[in-house]
């Protein structure tokens, strides 16, 4: 019996990458929820989330509180891993390969090299081929997506504008990427060399996308998705799964709900989590999306992304 995984650094035969994108395949059609503690993680799993993202502060809090946002405390991540049976993801700063090494040593199932945290490197992203753990990276357009894939990302998520509850930029980024893919599919082979240059992406990957009509790794959506209808919208626009951040466990966007068993706020959180999971699966069925929307107790206030100064935008981190 021959083991073919050739893990750590062993992606040369493509086996490591297949295992990484393989887990992303298993997460399709679902919802990945940001959680800050064990209780939130438990509710996310209970509600049917396919995975949780462990972090100390959700994007809306990072936005409200400012300061340097870093990898979560390993103790918190371990507690969450010990609590839920679904895969656990955690965020590392862009370019911060030492944080990523820590996350890999903890055994997290996916690492998000995330623009939500304060970037650690203004030039280089992490060499993700050097890890056994799969990575997800954000992208606003096809070139950015393919540069991350070239570095070893096993899943792409559109960035949107995290921590706002405003879906407008998630829509913009998904439309941009799918439009650019359709254009590539229509071009003649000799035209692809120039496209590769224009996108700042490796020619081989550009050729693969042109032939397949889709990214070589799963394409998910994140940033500003706050309601069941938002989830349905992103899925219909081509997202294969959605990441949901600040809305579910927060009150007024920035204060965590009180999740003490029996509390009204706990019911509110559960209703939101369940509703968004239901809508992500039945994104093509407006009746079920409507049913999901009716389940909601309370709503997230949100922050209009258009009102944000360029310097406050998280999506422009990474390139």
């Amino acid at each position: 019996m021959a083991h073919l995984n050739g893990n750590s650094n062993g992606n040369s035969n493509g086996t490591g990458l297949r295992l990484k994108t393989g887990l992303a395949e298993m997460l399709k059609g679902g919802v990945i929820m940001d959680v800050m503690n064990v209780e939130q993680a438990r509710i996310a799993e209970e509600a049917g989330a396919v995975s949780v993202m462990a972090l100390e502060r959700v994007p809306a809090m990072i936005r409200a509180e400012g300061g340097v946002a870093r990898m979560a405390n390993p103790k918190l991540i371990k507690e969450i891993m010990a609590t839920v049976s679904i895969p656990v993801m955690a965020k590392a700063r862009i370019g911060h390969f030492a944080e990523a090494q820590v996350l890999e040593s903890l055994g997290v199932d996916f690492i998000d090299e995330s623009e939500v945290l304060t970037p650690a490197d203004e030039t280089y992203h992490i060499d993700k081929h050097a890890f056994t753990t799969p990575f997800v990276c954000g992208a606003r357009n096809l070139g950015e997506a393919l540069r991350r894939i070239a570095e070893g990302a096993a899943m792409i998520r559109t960035k949107g504008e995290p921590g706002t509850g405003d879906v407008v930029h998630a829509v913009q980024h998904m439309r941009q990427i799918t439009r650019e893919i359709r254009i590539l599919s229509a071009l003649r082979e000799e035209e692809l060399f120039n496209e590769a240059k224009l996108h700042g992406a490796p020619y081989e990957l550009v050729k693969m996308v042109a032939a397949a009509g889709k990214l070589p790794v799963p394409n998910f959506s994140a940033g500003g998705i706050a309601t069941p209808a938002d989830a349905a919208l992103m899925m219909q626009l081509g997202a294969e799964t959605v990441f949901v951040g600040s809305g579910i466990f927060m009150k007024d966007g920035a204060t965590p709900l009180d999740l003490t068993p029996g509390s009204k706020q706990r019911d509110e959180a559960i209703s939101r989590a369940k509703a968004i999971v239901l809508a992500a699966t039945h994104f093509n069925d407006p009746k079920i999306v409507s049913e999901a929307s009716e389940m909601l107790i309370g709503s997230m206030k949100g922050l209009a992304a258009a009102g944000l100064e360029e310097s406050q935008r998280m999506q422009t981190r990474g390139w």
Partner: protein
């Protein structure tokens, strides 16, 4: 009967449903995605894909889906991979959870570890055509099987591909490999079941 007449649905509440549907279509089978209990009615067989079994259960709790699915797998061929195997097994551990209980087996969830322990192995099987590539992603372990269960492949002694009557189950992901032999076996099972049913109906006339 040609394969064009076979309709094998893929449970698509979540998980690797697309990959399964693509393999089935490459084998000439009609492969609709199934998200509601009503969609089970027109199927000759069903694939329960990998994904998160806890998530599957949450979706199946709605609108009598679990009961409809339970009835379906008791009468029609079904093929579970990874999380799908967990749903089909009689006994689920680590932690214990509800299941359709049509496969006489004990399954332990996430028994081979986390994603970092996911692996691809070449293994001998009873299928013709040499060793089979098996892709394990956060795989469950079949810890025990009943006497009526046929073991078609093993990993370090544990069954990884098993068949009990019209139920087929794998703890690995044949849909993530280019080798279509496991899917072809299931298509054969579905065809045989459909033929047998048709002949029973003829005898009954």
């Amino acid at each position: 009967m040609t394969q064009e007449h076979l309709t094998i649905g893929v449970l698509a509440v979540q998980g690797a449903f697309d990959a399964h549907a693509q393999v089935l279509r490459s084998l000439g089978v009609n492969a609709p995605l199934v998200r509601t209990p009503e969609e089970l009615a027109s199927l000759d067989g069903l694939i329960l894909p990998g994904g998160e079994s806890t998530t599957f259960l949450k979706h199946l709790e709605r609108n009598g889906f679990f009961d409809a699915l339970s009835k379906f797998v008791q009468h029609k061929p079904s093929f579970g991979t990874c999380a799908g195997t967990i749903l089909l097994a009689k006994d689920v551990r680590n932690p214990a959870q509800k299941s359709l209980a049509v496969l006489d087996a004990t399954v332990e969830r996430n028994a081979y570890g986390r994603q970092i322990d996911s692996t691809i192995i070449e293994t001998e099987t009873t299928l013709p055509g040499g060793p089979l590539e098996t892709v394990y992603i956060r795989a469950p372990r079949i810890a025990a099987v009943g006497s009526g269960v046929e073991v078609l492949a093993r990993r370090d002694g544990d069954p990884v591909l098993v068949r009990e009557g019209r139920v087929l189950a794998a703890t690995f992901h044949p849909e993530l490999s280019s080798d279509t032999r496991v899917h072809a076996l299931f298509v054969d099972m579905v065809r045989e079941h459909k033929l047998a049913q048709a002949s029973t109906e003829v005898h009954a006339l």
